[in-house]
C-alpha cells in the first residue's frame, strides 16, 4: 500500500452507506420531524459521503459524520424554502445541536412502515422504500425500475407530499393498523424482488441488483422481527427462488422452465438456507401465504430431478394456500398440481371450473396451463393452438418466446427427442 491516507473501495463505501441510510434518516426525522426534507438532506449527505469517503477514507464515526452533514444540509434546505423564510429565526433556533451518536433503537421498521403508507400507490411505495430505506439514489432507482430519472424523481417527491398531506408521523402505526401495514411492507419487498427478475441485459452493466436489495432489506427486517413467520417465510421464498437463477435462463437468453432446469447449477447454499429457515418457521406460529409459497418452493428445490418432485405434498400445500389466500394464480398452480397427482384429465376438469372466475377467463396463464395439460394428455394439436393463444395474450417477452417454442414443439410429433 502506498499513499498518505487510507482510501476505501467505492463498492465497500456504497455498502456501508446503504446500511447506514435508514439509521441516519431516523435520527434526522426524530430531531426535525419533517420526513420529506429530512430524506432529501440524508440523500445529499449520502452522495457527499460516497465521493469523499472513497477518496479520503471512512471517518472514525461514519453515522456521526452523516448525521452532521445531513443536519447542516437540512438547515440549508429549511432556510432556502421561501415559504418559510419569515420563520427563519425559528430555524436558527433549531439549527444543529451537537451531533448525536447512532440511536439505540433501530428505525428501519418505522421507516418501512412509513414508506408503505396506505395513501401511496404500490409504485410509489417501491420507489420511496428503495430511497429512504435502501439508500439508493434517484438515478439508481430509475435505472433499476426502467423509467427515466425525471419519472422516478417525481414519484418520490409526490410520495413524500402525499405522506405529509396524510398527516402521518414518524412512529409505529397504531396496533390495529400494524398487521395491515406489515402486509404492505412484505408486499413491497416482494415487488422489489420480482422487479429484479429482468431478462434484459442491454443496460445491465450499471443496474442495481434489485433482487439482492430485496433480500438485504428482508434479511434486516427478519433480524428485527425474528418471531414474524411471514417475514421469515418471505425471506425463505426469496432465497429458494433466487437459488434457481443460474439455471433459469439458457445461453441464448431463453427462459428454461423449472422442469427442464439443470439442477446442478442451482445455488446449493441458498437452497439450504431457505429450506432450514422455512422448516424452522413452519414449526411454530400461524401459517401465512409467504410461508406456504416458500414451503412449495422448498419441495421443488429438494427434488434431485423434476421426476422426483413430491407432487402430493405440493398439492396439499396449494390446498392450504387456497384456503388462506385464494387468488387466480393460486387456483391455476393448484390445477397443475392436481394434474401431476391425478393425471391431466383431472387437471382439465378443475381448469374448466377455474375458468368461471372472470379474472381468469381469458388470461394467458389459463391458456398456457390448458395447453400444457392437453399436451400431457396427448392432444398435441389442441395444445399447439392453446400455446399460440397464450403467446398472443402475454405481455411478457421472454414468456412469449417460451410459449411459441412450446407451441412449435407440441405441433411436432413427439419422436423428436427425449425430454428437452
Amino acid at each position: 500500500m502506498s499513499g498518505a491516507h487510507q482510501t476505501c473501495e467505492p463498492a465497500r463505501v456504497e455498502e456501508l452507506l446503504r446500511t447506514l441510510a435508514p439509521t441516519v434518516l431516523g435520527v434526522l426525522v426524530r430531531r426535525y420531524g419533517d420526513f420529506g426534507t429530512c430524506e432529501d438532506a440524508v440523500q445529499e449527505a449520502l452522495l457527499a459521503a460516497a465521493v469523499q469517503w472513497a477518496a479520503e477514507g471512512v471517518p472514525a464515526n461514519p453515522p456521526g459524520w452523516l448525521v452532521r452533514v445531513a443536519a447542516r444540509r437540512w438547515t440549508e434546505l429549511w432556510r432556502s424554502d421561501t415559504a418559510r423564510r419569515r420563520r427563519e429565526e425559528t430555524a436558527a433556533l433549531l439549527s444543529p445541536p451537537e451531533p448525536e451518536p447512532a440511536p439505540a433503537s433501530d428505525d428501519t421498521l418505522t421507516l418501512l412502515m412509513l414508506c408503505c403508507h396506505p395513501s401511496l400507490t404500490p409504485a410509489s411505495q417501491v420507489a420511496l422504500t428503495l430511497r429512504a430505506v435502501g439508500g439508493l439514489s434517484t438515478a439508481e432507482i430509475a435505472r433499476a425500475l426502467l423509467v427515466p430519472p425525471a419519472t422516478a424523481a417525481q414519484r418520490i417527491s409526490r410520495a413524500k407530499q402525499t405522506i405529509r398531506a396524510s398527516g402521518a408521523t414518524f412512529g409505529m402505526p397504531p396496533p390495529d393498523e400494524r398487521s395491515a401495514r406489515m402486509a404492505a411492507v412484505t408486499e413491497v419487498l416482494y415487488l422489489v424482488f420480482n422487479e429484479g427478475y429482468t431478462a434484459s441485459s442491454g443496460s445491465a452493466l450499471h443496474r442495481v441488483e434489485l433482487t439482492a436489495e430485496a433480500v438485504r432489506l428482508t434479511r434486516q427486517l427478519h433480524a428485527l422481527l425474528p418471531q414474524d413467520g411471514e417475514v421469515a417465510g418471505l425471506l425463505a421464498l426469496m432465497r429458494l427462488t433466487d437459488a434457481r437463477r443460474p439455471a433459469r435462463v439458457g445461453p441464448d437468453g431463453a427462459l428454461i422452465p423449472l422442469a427442464d432446469q439443470d439442477r446442478s447449477r442451482w445455488d446449493a447454499a441458498a437452497v439450504a438456507e431457505g429450506v432450514a429457515l422455512i422448516s424452522r418457521t413452519l414449526a411454530h406460529g400461524p401459517v401465512g401465504p409467504y410461508q406456504l409459497q416458500a414451503a412449495i418452493a422448498a419441495v421443488h428445490d429438494e427434488a434431485p430431478r423434476a421426476e422426483e418432485t413430491d407432487w402430493p405434498q405440493i398439492l396439499t400445500l396449494y390446498d392450504l394456500l387456497d384456503a388462506v389466500a385464494p387468488g387466480p394464480m393460486v387456483t391455476l398452480n393448484r390445477v397443475v398440481a392436481v394434474a401431476m397427482v391425478h393425471g391431466p384429465q383431472a387437471g382439465l376438469r378443475h381448469l374448466a371450473a377455474a375458468e368461471a372466475d372472470p379474472a381468469l377467463a381469458d388470461h394467458h396463464r389459463l391458456h398456457a396451463v390448458r395447453a400444457h395439460l392437453l399436451d400431457l394428455a396427448g392432444d398435441h394439436e389442441a395444445a399447439c393452438a392453446r400455446y399460440e393463444l397464450a403467446a398472443r395474450r402475454t405481455l411478457n417477452l421472454p414468456e412469449q418466446r417460451y410459449l411459441r417454442l412450446r407451441a412449435a414443439r407440441a405441433g411436432r410429433p413427439p419422436e423428436a427427442g427425449p425430454g428437452r
Binding site: 417525481q154 427478475y197 429482468t198 431478462a199 434484459s200 427462459l255 405481455l395
Partner: protein
Amino acid sequence: MKYVILIHSNPAAWDALSEAQKVEVGRRHLALTDDLAASGELIVTEALADPSLTRHVMVRDGRTVAGDGPFAEVKEHLAGFYLVDCDSMDRALAHAARLAPYGEIEVRPVMDLHAVLDV
C-alpha cells in the same frame, strides 16, 4: 405496467374543427402532459410532424433506400404518442379518454422483459 397511447389523426376531421376546438385539443394535451408528469406516470410524449415529411426505409438488393413509400390513400396517420407507466389498463384508459373527443385513440400494453418466476 407501461402502456402506449397512440393518437391517430384524420386530416379531414381535423380540418373540419373550428379554431376554438383546435385550441381546445392543444389545451387537453398540455393538461394531460402536466398531470402525468406530476403523478410520476409520464415516461415520454411527443407530437409527430406532418406525414408528408415521412420517409420510408427499405433494403433493395442489399442497398438501403429511403423514399416516400408506396403508401398512398392512408386516411389516418399517427399524430403523436404518450408512453406512460401506470398501475392498470383502466388507469391508462382513463388518461386516454381525456383525448378521445378529438381523434382515434389507441391504448396498448407494452411488453415487459421480466423473467417470469415459474413457467
